[in-house]
């Protein structure tokens, strides 16, 4: 009897019911692995954004000769961002009366999803990358343009004149600065000969003298600086932050957002800062390769260390610039882009193309 049970019922369970109890076996193993990686990267982004917000407050405070958050969590207020995040989760979600509800709700989804999707091509080391797309850089460039949609629809759906004006101004700014950014990215690609981020970083391996930023003399330095300035404008940072200028359009396109929806725009902004800095690091500053080739440290540790160090340094410089320079007026902003940066970027691309094809 027991033997019959053992042979039949348990077999029945094993074959028919267990697959549904282990409910993920309908998904292939690589999807499950990918979901784990995505979860890890979500965690990384959240912690990174919180850390960068805290860092911004500390940096701005020290530049202004004050201290910034000091109490929450004990040592220099490190838990301030966590407290702010929880506070925003607890805030009431006010959607204005005549606002376009579905569009209003969708806007932060797009802004965050796009920033999150750009993370798959960032190389933390030669093999630590979620997806080494062979058009990696073009993928990131294309995704950064989708952010404009999120901003326009956020401003439009808010039923607020100033949000709409802030949104279209911001869209005009973002869209204009896409071009010097694209031309500078192209200058980096010309020097590399490939669009894959891992490939570009590997070509700069072996030491700081191999980095692309000095490969074509002063012209690649100009390209790197143009990319950085364009990145500042793309992420709506001062001196280009007219769209969210606190003293002007209140908060521009995200005035009417409250609670977690607002914090999504914030998360997206800081993630975009990280991605833009990472792009500059990959294209011009060597990606995950080190200053000097150290052979005794395994690549798995050295790669992320150098990559994060360089990227976070550039993010810190973005914050430094924000609290040092005054804001540009909107017509100065547009003039800078169309009449100065684009001609310089075009000529620069030509010269770098010439230099690369001569020096091979």
């Amino acid at each position: 009897m027991v033997q019959w049970l053992a042979e039949n019922v348990f077999q029945y369970i094993a074959f028919m019911i267990l697959p549904f109890l282990e409910s993920w076996t309908w998904m292939p193993w690589y999807t499950i692995a990918l979901l784990h990686v995505a979860g890890v990267i979500l965690g990384v982004i959240s912690v990174l954004a919180m850390f960068l917000i805290w860092l911004e407050r500390k940096v701005s405070a020290h530049i202004q000769d004050r201290l910034g958050p000091m109490r929450v969590g004990g040592w220099h207020g490190w838990a301030q961002s966590i407290a702010d995040g929880i506070k925003l989760l607890l805030k009431e979600d006010i959607i204005p009366a005549m606002a376009d509800r579905p569009v209003f709700i969708v806007a932060p989804f797009i802004a965050f999803a796009v920033a999150f999707m750009s993370f798959i091509v960032l190389p933390f080391s030669q093999h630590i990358i979620v997806a080494d797309l062979n058009i990696g850089v073009l993928y990131v460039y294309g995704l950064s343009t989708i952010t404009v949609i999120a901003i326009i629809i956020a401003g439009w759906a808010s039923n607020n004149k100033w949000s709409l004006l802030g949104a279209v101004r911001s869209a005009a700014q973002l869209v204009s600065y896409e071009i010097p950014v694209g031309l500078s990215i192209l200058a980096g690609i010309v020097m590399a000969g490939s669009l894959s981020t891992v490939e570009i970083s590997m070509q700069q391996s072996g030491g700081v003298w191999n980095w692309f930023i000095w490969r074509c003399g002063p012209f690649s330095v100009i390209a790197a600086i143009l990319l950085y300035i364009g990145a500042l404008a793309e992420t709506n940072r001062t001196p280009f932050d007219l769209a969210e200028a606190e003293s002007e359009l209140v908060s521009g396109y995200h005035t009417e957002y409250s609670g977690f929806r607002f914090s999504l725009f914030f998360l997206a902004e800081y993630t975009n800062m990280f991605i833009a800095s990472a792009l500059v690091v990959i294209l011009f500053l060597g990606g995950f390769t080190g200053l000097v080739p150290i052979s005794f440290v395994p690549d798995v540790l050295a790669g992320p260390f150098w990559f994060l160090l360089k990227t976070l340094l550039l993010v810190f410089v973005m914050m430094w610039i924000r609290w040092t320079l005054p804001r540009l007026r909107v017509d100065q902003l547009m003039t800078t882009c169309w009449k100065y940066l684009i001609p310089i970027a075009l000529v620069n691309l030509g010269i770098i193309g010439l230099w690369t094809s001569i020096s091979g």
Binding site: L35, D93, P96, F109, I120, K161
Partner: protein
């Protein structure tokens, strides 16, 4: 599988799911107390008049048009940039001709006043 875009697709889904999950959690723990004053659009404390859908200056449209041209130009330069290394001089010269044609376009729109934020009287 799918050369890495499979990962991109799942990241899109996870990004959307993350946002949705957080908004759901937030909806469980936040208060909901709408009153008419809270729901009016923010105008620095004044009473708002009219709808939020104001008309804005067509210069935004002009900027978008000029951007479109230069963005398509940038897209065309991408394949060239990838194959330039190791290719001959004729490759370079072709692209220089392309870039100069587009630079002429930039100079034209500059001269016509399309790139000015404030409209000047037309010079040409």
């Amino acid at each position: 599988m799918f050369d890495g875009y499979y990962n991109a697709f799942w990241f899109l889904l996870i990004g959307l799911a993350f946002v949705a999950m957080n908004l759901f959690i937030s909806s469980l723990i936040r208060p909901s107390d709408p009153n008419p004053v809270k729901l009016t659009p923010y105008e620095c404390g004044e009473e708002s008049e009219g709808t939020g859908f104001v008309r804005f200056n067509p210069r935004f449209y002009v900027i978008a048009l000029v951007f479109l041209i230069f963005d398509i130009e940038t897209v065309f330069i991408f394949p060239w940039a990838v194959v330039l290394k190791g290719a001959g001089a004729h490759v370079l010269i072709h692209m220089m001709i392309f870039l100069s044609i587009l630079a002429v376009g930039l100079v034209y729109s500059w001269g016509k006043g399309d790139l000015d934020w404030i409209k000047q009287p037309t010079q040409w």
